[in-house]
């Protein structure tokens, strides 16, 4: 630990008592006051075409103050502890200015706790920057070396160790810390006018070693890009489709999960109506969950950024909608229990309702049987790109094969899977008995992009999926 970090740790320790005193002093002027202080230490490396585009280490300290008065919120952020009192004044004044209704925050028990998410291996802070750069260069060389037709590569490495203090006027004082790591790989292959990309992403909250031995996985990205150059494009049509657990994880997070975030529904009456509790969305065998409580995943933590304990929330039970994700405010307004899903990317932002670890429960159909009886269909694995618009989604498969007469047949490229999430959930025909946690997820919402999340699920068989790939028009 460097001198700067040591001084910062001392600072944040001293700030703890002061934060509580300030909450006690200023709390009575509003209905709710929270001070969140954050210390972060991180590394960013980006190699494009093997050359360094970004290579940085940074330590930062900052915080924000949130005040709520008669339903109105005030927010102020700071990166200098000396300005904390001014920030409180400003947040309290703003809340009092806009509040004209009623503060409805779901009740939670105040808690005083110190919690460290345990690493199972080496802390990334113990690894010198030079060694991390060597690792990135090694992977860039691997990608480039797969085939002469690899035109460009990119390797991105990021780690961050965060310590977060939260003090509230209700008496909560939480001191949490965790480390998060992520690597992203992409290779673009080119042959004449044909260009194909392969991607691979991984992440961990457990150990630097999780990023250290990825050679086959990394090379896979380049190999898929090269192989796709010579593949025929899929013939656009509606097919019965089998997707792998990674695509299932993407689907449950991006297509369904965001609609379960109560702030989205609360602000959109049509969505609130569509997401009515008790509505059937899928088959009896479909179970969907979200929760930060299961340990060891990218979206795991002890308490959210409002001090609500992490939970596991069942969203769909036996195919029926039974839950949604809440901050204290959305839970209060909808008279439901808080779920511990209020998260902010960093101190510059207010917490929003966010997913944590989201998954579809393992089913009972042996994976091989998912293909049975499909006369002509598509098997899609992994993903390259996704796009969502409310209920609608399009995901581009990382690799794909035709299914013919119940068996895997020839590989194809340009497979996009598109549809309406509600219809697609209803069209789930079988749920595989496999399961995989994809720890590569970063989630974007409201400008707060790159929030670590976990996604999981089994392979799924879905009928009537629109498969295609060509643009609606070609005005390039």
């Amino acid at each position: 630990m460097g001198g700067g970090t040591k001084a910062m740790t001392d600072t944040i320790d001293q700030a703890k008592t002061r934060m509580q005193e300030l909450c006690d002093r200023w709390g009575p002027r509003v209905d709710y006051l929270a001070i969140r202080l954050e210390q972060s230490e991180g590394t960013d490396i980006l190699l494009r075409g093997g050359a360094v585009e970004t290579l940085s280490e940074a330590i930062a300290i900052g915080g924000h103050v949130r005040a709520c008065y008669r339903g109105g919120w005030g927010f102020a952020s700071f990166n200098d502890l000396d300005s904390l009192t001014l920030c409180i004044e400003s947040a309290v004044a703003a809340a009092r200015l806009v509040g004209d209704d009623e503060t409805r925050l779901a009740a939670i028990d105040p808690v005083q706790i110190t919690q460290r998410l345990p690493l199972t291996g080496t802390d990334p802070r113990a690894i010198p920057l030079a060694r991390k750069k060597v690792l990135c260069s090694h992977y860039a060389d691997l990608l480039q070396g797969v085939d002469p037709r690899i035109a460009t590569t990119s390797v991105r490495y990021a780690d961050v160790a965060q310590r977060v203090l939260l003090a509230t006027s209700e008496g909560t004082l939480i001191d949490q810390a965790w480390s998060d790591m992520e690597m992203r790989f992409a290779a673009t292959a080119r042959d004449g006018n044909t260009v194909q990309t392969g991607r691979e992403t991984t992440g961990s909250r457990n150990a630097y070693e999780d990023l250290d031995h990825l050679d086959p996985q990394v090379m896979g990205a380049a190999q898929r890009a090269v192989a796709a150059l010579d593949l025929p494009p899929v013939k656009g049509a509606t097919y019965d489709v089998v997707i792998d657990p990674i695509l299932t994880g993407l689907f449950v997070h991006e297509a369904f999960g965001h609609l379960s975030e109560a702030d989205m529904a609360y602000e959109n009456p049509d969505l609130l109506e569509a997401m009515s509790m008790g509505r059937r969305f899928g088959p009896d065998t479909l179970q969907i969950f979200d929760g930060a409580a299961p340990q060891g995943h990218r979206g795991s933590y002890g308490y959210d950024d409002e001090g609500t304990p992490a939970t596991t929330t069942q969203l769909i039970q036996d195919g029926v909608l039974v839950g949604r994700l809440h901050s204290r405010e959305t839970a209060g307004k909808l008279n439901e229990a808080p779920t511990g899903n209020a998260r902010c990317l960093n101190y510059h932002y207010s917490p929003l309702v966010r997913m944590t670890n989201t998954w579809i429960e393992r089913g009972t159909t042996p994976v091989d049987n998912l293909f049975a009886d499909i006369k002509q269909g598509v098997y899609a694995r992994n993903w390259l790109e996704g796009m969502t618009n409310g209920e609608m989604f399009t995901f581009t498969a990382g690799e794909a094969w035709m299914i013919r007469n119940g068996k895997l047949a020839e590989p194809v490229r340009d497979v996009t899977l598109s549809g309406n999430v509600f219809r697609t959930l209803a069209d789930i025909e079988a749920i595989g008995d496999d399961f995989y946690w994809d720890e590569s997820g970063g989630c974007g919402k409201g400008g707060q992009n790159g929030l670590p999340v976990g996604c999981g699920g089994p392979s799924l068989r879905i009928r009537n999926v629109v498969v295609g790939g060509e643009a609606a028009d070609g005005n390039e």
């Binding site: 494009r48 035109a151 460009t152 990119s154 992203r184 673009t188 080119r190 006018n193 260009v195 990309t197 991607r199 509606t238 991006e254 993903w383 390259l384 790109e385 996704g386 796009m387 969502t388 618009n389 409310g390 209920e391 609608m392 989604f393 399009t394 598109s418 549809g419 309406n420 970063g442 989630c443 974007g444 919402k445 400008g447 992009n449 790159g450 629109v466 295609g468 060509e470 643009a471 609606a472 028009d473 070609g474 005005n475 390039e476």
Partner: protein, 167 residues
């Protein structure tokens, strides 16, 4: 750029005016139609109606007419295009240009501006390979660009646009 309708020209002028005011004295620079965005793979130049660059323009091999790093691009749609509907069978691709430009690592927002009605469709990069989308319809709405903190009232985007004119 040779086939612009009067309405297209008006929208372009309005966008240029609004974005230039927003970006003046900031880290961002607005570049009008005519400046080429270069896509190294597949070695292709494209011409957005308007783009915003963060910091200095990054040039391909130092060539002044090949910008690599737009962070926002605007495309004024030349033909009436149906809106996205949850009843549709699929979320279709809006334009071939957008499909190509999604590979630009610097690009954060791609904005489609319709010229036959007051409708703006805004695609934003939620994650490295994930895009989300919002639509604003009607002259009383405001388009917000998160990256530049721009607030573009639809009333101003469509100032003087005559919706009764055929394209």
């Amino acid at each position: 750029m040779s086939d612009s309708s009067v309405n297209q020209g008006r929208i372009l002028r309005n966008l240029m005016r609004l974005m230039d005011v927003t970006c003046r004295n900031s880290l961002y620079e607005v570049l009008p139609r005519g400046v080429q965005v270069w896509l190294p793979e597949p070695s292709l130049g494209v011409y957005p109606d308007l783009m915003v660059v963060s910091g200095a323009p990054l040039l391909h091999d130092g060539q002044e007419d090949k910008v690599l790093n737009p962070c926002v691009m605007f495309e004024i749609l030349s033909k009436p295009t149906p809106g996205y509907s949850p009843e549709a069978l699929a979320l279709t691709e809006r334009s071939g240009l957008f499909r190509l430009c999604r590979e630009i690592p610097y690009l954060q927002e791609y904005v489609f501006v319709h010229q036959t009605e007051a409708r703006v469709e805004q695609f934003y990069r939620a994650e490295e390979s994930l895009w989300g989308m919002t639509t604003q319809t009607g002259l009383d709405r405001v388009v917000e660009l998160a990256i530049t903190n721009a607030r573009l009232p639809m009333m101003d985007i469509y100032a003087q646009v005559d919706f009764s004119l055929l394209v």
